[in-house]
Every structure is written in C-alpha cells, then in structure tokens.
C-alpha cells in the first residue's frame, strides 16, 4: 500500500461516498462541493507522492486495473489542483440549491482520475468516455436549453468517436503485444504501418478531446455551456486528461525506438492548432468562448512540445528530449491553473455583470477590484508576460524549438522553423486575446446599464481564485521546483538525461536560484524580479525627490470628443472600443483565408428610418470542411437505407432467396 495509492484510493472512496449521498444531500451544496474539492486535493497529493516513486499496480475487480507512475502522478497533480480550486466556486454558483443536481460532479472527477491512473486500455476508455458522459449530465442537469443541448450533442458525438479511435489504437497496440495491459504493450512497441495507424488514431481520439485541429469545433460550444466552475474543470482538467492520454501513447506506450515522423506529426498539428485557437480567441465575442478557444491554443502548444520530445528522442538527443518534455508538462500544469482561474473570473463577471458578451461589460474594475486583480494574474500567465508561470513554460518550449535544428534532418529543421514561427504567432495572438479580454471586461466605461449593479464577487469566488493565483505566482517565480518534478517524470519515461541541460532545477546556477536552464541559456526569475524591484525602487526614489503632485480628475480627452448626452450617462457605447473593433485589424489581416471572414453593411431600404448595421461574421473552417460534409454523407446513406427499408415484403423474400443462393454458390465454389 504505497502512500500514493492510499491517497488516490481515499480520493476515490470520498467521491463514491459523495455520489451516493448526493440525492439525500438536501440543501448542503457548499459542504458537497467542499468534499469534491477535498477529493481533488487528495488526488493532487497522490500525484505528488507518485512523482519519482516506484510505480504501483492494483486490480479493481475483473474489469478495471490502476497503476500510479510518475507520468500519471504529474497529471494527477494538475487535475487535482484544478478540481480543488474550482469545486468550491460551484457552491457559490449553486447558492443553496439541492445537491441532487450535483450528482454527476463526483462521477466526473472520479472518471478523470480513473483515466489518468489507468493501467490497461479498458480502464483508460472507461475513464475517458465516463468523464464526457458525466460532464454532459452535469451541464444538462444545471441548464437545459436548446443551446446547451446542441453543445452536449456535439460533446458526446465527438467523445464517442474519440473513444472508438482510442479503442482501435489500443487494439492495434495490443495485437502485437498480446494483451491490453500497458505493461504488455510497452514490451512490444508498434512498427511500420501499425505505428502510423496508432499515431493517427491516438491523435484523433485524444486530440479531439483536447481540441486539436480539425476536431476542435465542439470545444468553443461545449465548454461555455457549463456553469463557470464546471467549465473551469472541463477546460482545466478534462483537456489535461486528454493531453495526459496523448503523452501516455506518444512517449510511454510506443517505446523509445519510434522514427522521426512519430514526433513530427503532433508537433506540426499542435503548432497549427495553437495558432488557430489563438486566432479564434482574438475574434471571440463571448468571454467563455474566448477562454475555450484559448484552451485549444494551449492544448496545441502542449501537443507540439510532446511531439518535439518524441522527435528529440528519435534523434537520440536525450537532454533536449527532457527539455521538451519539461516544457510540455509545465505548460500543461500552468495552463490548467490559469485556465481555471480565468474561468472562475469569467464566472464571477457573469454572476455580477449579468452577461457573457464583451460588448455588454466594461468598467468592472471599479466594482470588482479584487476579481480584476486576480484575473490579471491569470491574464499575465496566459499572455506569457515575464515572471509569470505561463512565461516559464513558454520559455522552455521556445528554447526546445530553438534547439530543434540540432537534429540533422533538413526537412525536420525547416518544419521546426515554421512551427517556431507558428508557436510565436500563437503566443502573440494569445497575448492580444487576453489583453482584449481583460481590457474590455474590466477597463473603460460600462457598455450596459446592468453592469452598474455589479458588486465584488463573493468569498466563494475570490477564495478559489486567490488560491489559483497564489499557485501561479509561486510557479512563475520559482519554476525550478516544478521543473525538477518534470525531471523525475522524464527519468521514469527514459526521455531526459538527469544531469544534462535537461531541466535546470537540478544543476548549476539555475538550480541554485530555482530557475530554468537550456542549451546556452538560462532563465532565472528570482534575480530578474530583484532587478525589476531595484529599478522600481530607483524610480520611486526619483519621484519622491521630485515631488508628486496629486492627480486631478477631468473628462476624458479623446481628441476633443464631446461630453456624452444626458440620456447616455455612460457615454455612447458606439464611441467605446468594442469586441469586434479590437479584433478588426487581426480579423482583416489574418482571418481572411482561415476563418471565412465576412463583413457586410446591412443598409436599410431606401425610405426606412432604421440605421445601417455592419454585419461581421467569422465561420470555423472545420465546420464547413469536416462536419457539414460528414453530415451530408450520412444523410445520403440514410436516404439509400430508407429506399431499401421501403421495399415490399415480396422483394424482401426475394432478398432472402438471393442470400441463400449466394451462400450455396459460395459453398459449391469452395467445393
């Protein structure tokens, strides 16, 4: 009974107890969510204990088998922290509603933990599809409208397809290995066409759940449909589980001797997904859809980092492989945290500001200063500003990409240069999206009267957000700590060399200052923080000597804009920067080829008094090129089936006769 297993089984037991007790929980939603949060904490503890420890293995009845190794340990930490942080906020959202509605919540968390700690194909799939079913139930239990139903049908449709793809890939792996247990599969890595098929199926299965191109269309619809804390768990935890499954297949189950293209495919797909997700995030007009698109972007980056680690391992550069793996693991952890924080902030804004649309918010910093401050920590990480957690993992990923050309193959070097540019574009677009989100929601003047009624979010919102922000600040200033954990995972996977550049936390100058090291570079956040503090102190001293007259308030200059009319006390919203306005340069520059941009003036009929309206619409190409054709093909086949179904009884009898004759002919031919 290793300590890790004890914590994990405690988490499972607690979740089971909560699930059983929920119908009779009465009004105690707060206690219930607290329990789920505690279970999340236990899972994170189990993950921590498993890092670097000897993998342990148990059977849970004839069907399920669990194993706790370093890789699953790392992702348990990420998922556990997100659940621990997001669950209490759900109590605020519930405000004393019954716990019966929350029954799927512990099942959702338990399924995620099951998928992470799976030791064989069946348990992985049980957890993988179980979490989608529980998430769908959780969404529909809370809000059952046409929009949520459409989102849930997309969510379930993609998860069933993804589950089938994963099952096929495990089957292919098990075919060579003679058993679906991961230990058996590890002993017989796939080669040739089987490896290619496994890679394609894993990218389709785990990738679609993580929002990878071209299977991402459902994510910006499904995640916003849930209440904010559940969206936080879906974007933070569920996507992290999908990335964990991808990492399990890419680096662990398929053995070290995979060729270069094994890593190149996820690298290029990940980079493309990152840029596409960031572009859609910049153009999104609904704060939760914006954050969901940002999830696609960050999932793409983690996938690219995993692909890069596989490439380095294929070119047997273990130190760089460790670097890339550290980038992937750190970015997955940091993304989980800052996405949970941002979704909670969005939830608080929705609860107080009354709307999810950027064009109906604004100026909330005055009413909700604490939420604005905490959200700023998340935005800084998502925009990877220096000293933030996001920047630490971003720096590692860029260093890994910069070290990419050490692999000899020219085609891969060119691909690496292109994906470096794409990841750079994605990072910058993400920064633009996050600044747009924070600026339009919190700064400027309110764009709708409802916003004036906003008050600071309750303690149940700010508490979890503060916890997440604290973790992010800690991870930002001292990334070496997390990096050493990632080093342990690398060692277990046989991906990184313990002493090499690998992960700076361990050796040399970087180690001492808990910074990050890479070939020919080091990022030492503590000294940089001291430098910035020193310069700030210098500036403060300068201004104290010069004297700082108190600023005075006056109407905004705005190049001579007239004061707002009486009936628009908040100023004419049209003169405010709007969501579409902020996105307009990028929509015109980048969205043209990719997102079927359409801008049209809807002028009123000649005599009509109405105002002309500017219609701006952006379509997702994957819907036009993938989902719609699939739907049309299915309907065509269904029409064919209908024709067959409408045959008269006589023709069906003819069919029976034809079948019997065919069988007889086959029998005669086979002699």
């Amino acid at each position: 009974m290793t300590p890790g297993f004890a914590a994990l089984s405690a988490a499972f037991l607690l979740l089971a107890a909560l699930a059983v007790a929920s119908p009779w929980g009465g009004r105690r939603a707060g206690l219930f969510c607290g329990g789920v949060s505690a279970a999340g904490g236990l899972a994170a503890l189990a993950g921590l204990l498993a890092l670097g420890a000897e993998p342990a293995f148990w059977r849970l009845g004839p069907a399920l088998a669990l194993a706790l190794d370093s890789l699953s340990g790392w992702f348990l930490v990420a998922v556990g922290l997100v659940v621990a942080v997001a669950a209490p906020a759900l109590a605020a959202e519930e405000k004393g509603a019954g716990t019966a509605r929350l029954l799927p919540l512990p099942l959702f968390v338990a399924a995620m933990l099951l998928a992470l700690a799976a030791a064989d194909g069946l348990t992985l799939l049980a957890g993988f599809e179980g979490m989608s079913l529980a998430a769908a139930a959780l969404i529909l239990a809370r809000k059952d409208t046409a929009e949520t139903r459409r989102a849930v049908s997309l969510l379930l449709g993609f998860s069933v397809a993804g589950g089938v793809a994963l099952a096929l890939s495990v089957g292919l792996l098990a075919g060579a290995a003679g058993g679906t247990g991961f230990d058996a599969i590890r002993s017989a890595p796939p080669e040739g066409w089987r490896a290619a098929a496994v890679l394609a199926l894993v990218l389709a299965g785990a990738g679609s759940k993580a929002g990878m191109l071209p299977f991402h269309a459902w994510l910006p619809l499904a995640h916003p449909a849930a209440p904010a804390p559940v969206s936080a768990m879906m974007s933070g935890a569920m996507v992290t589980v999908a990335l964990a499954v991808a990492a399990r297949f890419l680096l662990d189950l398929s053995g070290p001797a995979q060729p270069l293209w094994w890593g190149a495919a996820p690298l290029l797909l990940g980079a493309a997904t990152a840029a596409f997700g960031a572009l859609r995030a910049v153009l999104a007009e609904d704060i939760k859809a914006l954050l969901a698109c940002s999830t696609i972007e960050n999932a793409g980056m983690v996938l690219a980092a995993l692909g890069l680690a596989a490439c380095f391992r294929a070119a047997d550069l273990p130190a760089l492989a460790g670097l890339a793996l550290a980038a992937a693991l750190l970015h997955a952890l940091h993304h989980a945290l800052f996405k949970a924080l941002l979704f909670l902030a969005a939830g608080a804004v929705l609860a107080e500001g009354g709307s999810r649309l950027l064009d109906r918010l604004g100026g909330l910093v005055h009413a909700m200063p604490a939420t604005a401050g905490l959200a700023l920590v998340g935005v800084a990480s998502a925009a990877s500003l220096p000293l933030s957690a996001g920047f630490a993992s971003e720096w590692l990923l860029l260093q890994a990409l910069l070290a990419g050309p050490r692999i000899g193959e020219v085609w891969l070097q060119v691909a690496l240069a292109v994906s470096l540019a794409t990841v750079g574009l994605a990072a910058a677009l993400a920064a633009a999206a996050m600044l747009r989100f924070w600026g339009l929601v919190f700064l400027g003047r309110p764009r709708a009267p409802r916003v004036l009624g906003a008050r600071e979010a309750g303690m149940l919102w700010r508490g979890p957000m503060a916890a997440a922000a604290g973790l992010l600040l800690l991870a930002g200033v001292a990334p070496g700590v997390a990096a050493s954990g990632a080093g342990a995972v690398g060692e277990w996977l046989g991906v990184g060399a313990a002493d090499g550049f690998g992960v700076g936390g361990g050796s040399g100058v970087a180690g001492a200052m808990l910074g990050l090291a890479a070939p020919g570079a080091a990022y030492l956040p503590l000294p940089v923080a001291l430098l910035l503090a020193a310069v700030a102190a210098l500036l403060w001293w300068l201004f104290r000597r010069v004297g700082r007259p108190e600023p005075v308030r006056g109407p905004a200059w705005g190049c001579g804009a007239a004061p707002p009319p009486r009936w628009l006390p908040l100023g004419d919203p049209l003169t405010q920067p709007s969501a579409a306005g902020f996105a307009q340069p990028l929509r015109r520059m980048l969205a043209e080829p990719w997102l079927a941009r359409r801008e049209g003036i809807v002028a009123p009929e000649p005599a009509a008094p109405g105002a002309a309206r500017l219609g701006v619409s952006v379509g997702d190409p994957s819907v036009a090129w993938l989902l719609r054709p699939l739907g049309r093909a299915r309907d065509w086949l269904a029409a064919r089936a209908e024709v067959w179904r409408d045959w008269s009884l006589r023709r069906h009898l003819g069919l029976v006769l034809a079948l019997v004759c065919a069988l007889l002919l086959a029998f005669a031919a086979a002699g």
């Binding site: 006589r650 023709r651 019997v660 007889l664 005669a668």
Partner: protein, 222 residues
Amino acid sequence: MSGSLAYDVAHLIGGGVLLASFLLLYQRRVAALIGVLAVQGALVALAAAWQGVVRGEAHLFATALIAFAAKGVLVPLLLQRIVARLALDRAVETALPVGASLAAGVALVALSVLVMLPATAGSAGALARVDMVLALSVLLLGVLMMATRRTAIPQVVGLIAVENGLLLGAVGIAGLPLLLELSIAALVLVLVLVAGVFALLMRTRLDSLDVTLLGRHRGEGG
C-alpha cells in the same frame, strides 16, 4: 423388394412432388393453385408411406397418414373455404412473368443439384441423396413462389410448398426421431390457421389481399 425398384418408385414420387412445385409456379388461378397443392401434399404423403414400406418402420405410416390428412385434405379445404367465404379475386397476380419464374425455377433446381450431390457424396445411399436434392429444390421453388406473388394466399401456398419439401427431405433420412415429423405436420396446420386469421383480418380491414397495399399502412409512413 429389390433395391432398384424401391429407388425407382421413391425417385418417381419425388419427381412428382418437384413437378407439382413447377405446376404451382405455372398456375394463374387460385382454385387450381390449391388443387395442385393438394396433389403435392398427397404425393408427399405417398412418399412417406413408400419409405415406410421400404424401411418397414411403422411410424412412417403414421406420418404418411397425418401428412395426407393435413396437406392432402384439410389444408386445401381450409384454403378453399377462405377463398370462397372472402370472395377473393380469382386471378393470381404475379410480380415476375410466369415464363421467367419457370426459368428461375430450373436454375434453382440446377443449383440444388450442383450443391447437394457433392455434399452428400460421403453419406448414406443413393436414395437419401436424391431425396435431399429434391427436398432442396422444392424448398427453393417454394421460396421463389412466395417472392414472385403479390397476394396473400399464393404466398401462403408457397410457404406450405416449402413445408412439403421439408417433409420430403425428413422422410428420406432414416432414423429421424418421430417427434420431428409430427411437429412438422402439426405446425403446418398452425400456419394455415394463422394465415386464415390474417386473411380474414385483411379482408375485413383492407378489402383486398394485395400485399403491396399493405405497404402503405406500415407504421411511420411510406
């Protein structure tokens, strides 16, 4: 009886049943159709009796008697009554022209010969092999008849022809437990009863026994 005579007579009776099947395909009128069915039933009963004579097994005689009573007499009478009572239209509407269905019948017989002879090469004597070939042919012809007739009664006749083929085959196999033969005969009776009930219902509900008309009433529209 010398072996060759037994074989010749059985072969003759079997041939007769096959011929009756072809005649069924040929008929245009329902009354004649039922008459040929009765003849076929009688022939099958005769074959059973002859097998009883050849192998000296008493139960075959019982089967022959039951078969004759059921298929030779009772079934045609029931069908006659149903046709008379419900004043059905006399003609047999065919989906496939008669010439074509006969040609198809010949093809089916060829197929059953092609299949059955090599399959039964290893097992019992010539008698059993011929019986199985004939049984398979009559069965396939019965299904062909059901597949090429539009109205309910000819389809039921087709189904009974199939049962006749089965009885012919069963009789040919030595040592088959009696239970089976009894059940075959009994179930034919039940089939006809049920068919009669349907004909009654369809008649009262739909004023015609045209099976294609039924299609329109299928649940969930056309």
